[in-house]
């Protein structure tokens, strides 16, 4: 009995020491895993390339939001995954949309990863997201058209998105088209990061639409353009100034054209 009591007491002591250790531990940053070059990994993983790629993928997605800086590690991880398991489609698609959002300087990397993905996989998301990146981050409608066409003809694309992809370039209003693309991404992904990005962009476009409509109503009722967004609230056209998810502050010029700055 005494022996059992001592063991129980010692177990309590273990819990106590762990608790005290955790409360005193300084907040440490995420230490990214050292990823060896692909030939080294290939010769050491006993042919388990796909499994190794899955593990690096799990590591890569842990890095997002936990490291500050250039996201060099993330780009390297994704390139390693692509080399080890070229048919693993989602890392290509993920990199295309998420990298430019995290760091605009990584747009060229995202495009290069996406182009490789289109060559190696037959997943509709890869050309669709690549086209979206060309359109949203580079305003390159020619390449966007090319990859939307490929996505539209890739088996497995949901019918709603197939319409969006194949009709790209036929609508007058670019904002409607961009909104349809983000809505498609929002509905088709289970990825919380991508879903969050799509949701923010949809809210952003909705705010632009609301403000444009407000300016038009103001001009119709008062005969002049509002000087600032606050005027729309003062005129009871808007209840309040909408909160932009990216933190944009909106301005209105003398011709009633909506502008924004961070």
């Amino acid at each position: 009995m005494t022996r059992i009591s001592v063991i129980v007491l010692l177990l309590f002591a273990v819990v106590f020491v762990q608790f005290e250790y955790d409360t005193r531990k300084p907040p440490a940053g995420f230490a990214p895993l050292v990823i060896f070059p692909v030939p080294v990994l290939r010769s050491a993983d006993l042919g388990l390339d796909s499994g190794t790629a899955s593990l690096i993928w799990l590591n890569a997605i842990q890095e997002i939001g936990t490291i500050s800086g250039s996201y060099k590690g993330l780009v390297n991880d994704i390139k390693t995954i692509n080399a080890l398991d070229p048919k693993f489609a989602y890392p290509y698609a993920f990199a295309e949309l998420v990298l430019p959002g995290l760091d605009p300087a990584k747009t060229a990397d995202a495009i290069a990863i996406g182009q490789k993905g289109v060559e190696n996989t037959s997943d509709w998301r890869v050309p669709f997201y690549l086209a979206s990146t060309y359109l949203i981050h580079m305003d390159d409608r020619e390449n966007a058209l090319k990859y939307f066409y490929i996505a539209g003809h890739t088996p497995g694309i949901p019918s709603g998105l197939q319409g969006t992809a194949l009709n790209f370039g036929t609508q007058k209003d670019k904002r409607t088209q961009t909104k349809a693309i983000w809505a498609g991404i929002y509905e088709s992904t289970n990825d919380e990061i991508l879903k969050g990005q799509a949701e923010s962009n949809l809210i952003h476009i909705d705010i632009l639409d609301t403000l444009d409509r407000g300016i038009a109503i103001y001009k119709q009722t008062k005969g002049i353009y509002p000087k600032e967004v606050q005027d729309l609230v003062s005129a009871h056209i808007l209840k309040e100034i909408p909160q932009d998810p990216f933190g944009f502050v909106y301005t209105i010029d003398k011709d009633g054209k909506l502008g924004s700055h961070l």
């Binding site: 010769s43 006993l46 796909s50 899955s54 593990l55 993928w57 799990l58 048919k87 992904t189």
Partner: protein, 258 residues
């Protein structure tokens, strides 16, 4: 091949099977494999919607790694234990030849490795079905390929254990497994080297067991079709290599002074 030969091999195989499935190390490894397989469910859940891919790639990798561990650990001590316990003298005093013993040990261990792999395969298939991947029939082909690789490794460890201690046999086996999976890389690495190096590496490439051909896990993960002729040559390679290794093992075992 007469009936006494088959009967002797079958009896030794049956006893080896019973002996290995009673081994506590085997259950330890299998328990760890079960925990690992269940853990892939968690890893899948944090993979941003790529659950099935992660479970399939890591699940098949797990079956392979745990099968290798079981094969090498049990295989390298199979003959040594008989010699150490002196049960070998008793067996060989009966009308049982060295060949009966080696073949019996081979088939007995192969049966227990196959049963262990079947258990892991059932867990894997259940997890894939649970995640909505349906019946992963291609994975069964991949596991069958792995079984042939394990058969080759069993023959290899038995061959090594005819002339070395268990620890040394284990080291040799692990070394050959690594080299066997890197032969294609080795060939590519010396593609621009001199003629002598190329001939030397080519010799190694053809003589050592080339294990990369047993790896179709990547193809299975993407439901890629596998040609029937390829299946035939992979099985033929394993069978021929196993016959060579077991013949050499029998020869060395006969020469050994017990």
């Amino acid at each position: 091949m007469n009936s006494i030969f088959l009967q002797n091999v079958f009896t030794i195989a049956k006893n080896t099977f019973k002996e290995t499935v009673r081994n506590k190390i085997l259950y330890g490894i299998l328990a760890f494999a079960l925990v690992y397989m269940l853990f892939t469910l968690f890893l899948g859940s944090i993979s941003l919607g790529e659950d099935l891919h992660v479970i399939r790639s890591l699940g098949l990798a797990g079956i392979y790694v745990f099968s290798v561990i079981i094969t090498v650990f049990l295989g390298s001590s199979l003959l040594y234990r008989e010699i150490e316990r002196k049960t070998l003298y008793f067996v060989l005093s009966k009308p049982v030849s060295h060949a009966h013993l080696i073949l019996g040990k081979f088939f007995g261990l192969l049966a227990s490795v196959a049963v262990s792999m079947a258990g892991m395969a059932v867990i894997y298939l259940s997890l894939v079905a649970f995640e909505g991947g349906g019946f992963d029939s291609l994975a069964l082909l991949s596991i069958l390929y792995q079984l042939f690789e394990m058969a080759l490794l069993i023959a290899l460890t038995i061959f090594f254990s005819t002339f070395s201690m268990p620890l040394i046999s284990t080291l040799y086996a692990v070394l050959v497994i690594y080299i066997g999976h890197s032969l294609d890389l080795l060939m590519n690495a010396v593609a621009k080297s001199g003629v002598f190096v190329q001939v030397l590496v080519k010799g190694i490439y053809y003589l050592l067991p080339n294990l990369a051909k047993f790896d179709i896990r990547n193809l299975v993960t993407y439901d890629t079709h596998i040609a029937l002729s390829q299946v035939f040559f992979v099985i033929a390679y394993a069978v021929v290599y196993i016959v060579v290794l077991l013949s050499m093992a029998i020869f060395l075992f006969e020469q050994r002074e017990l």
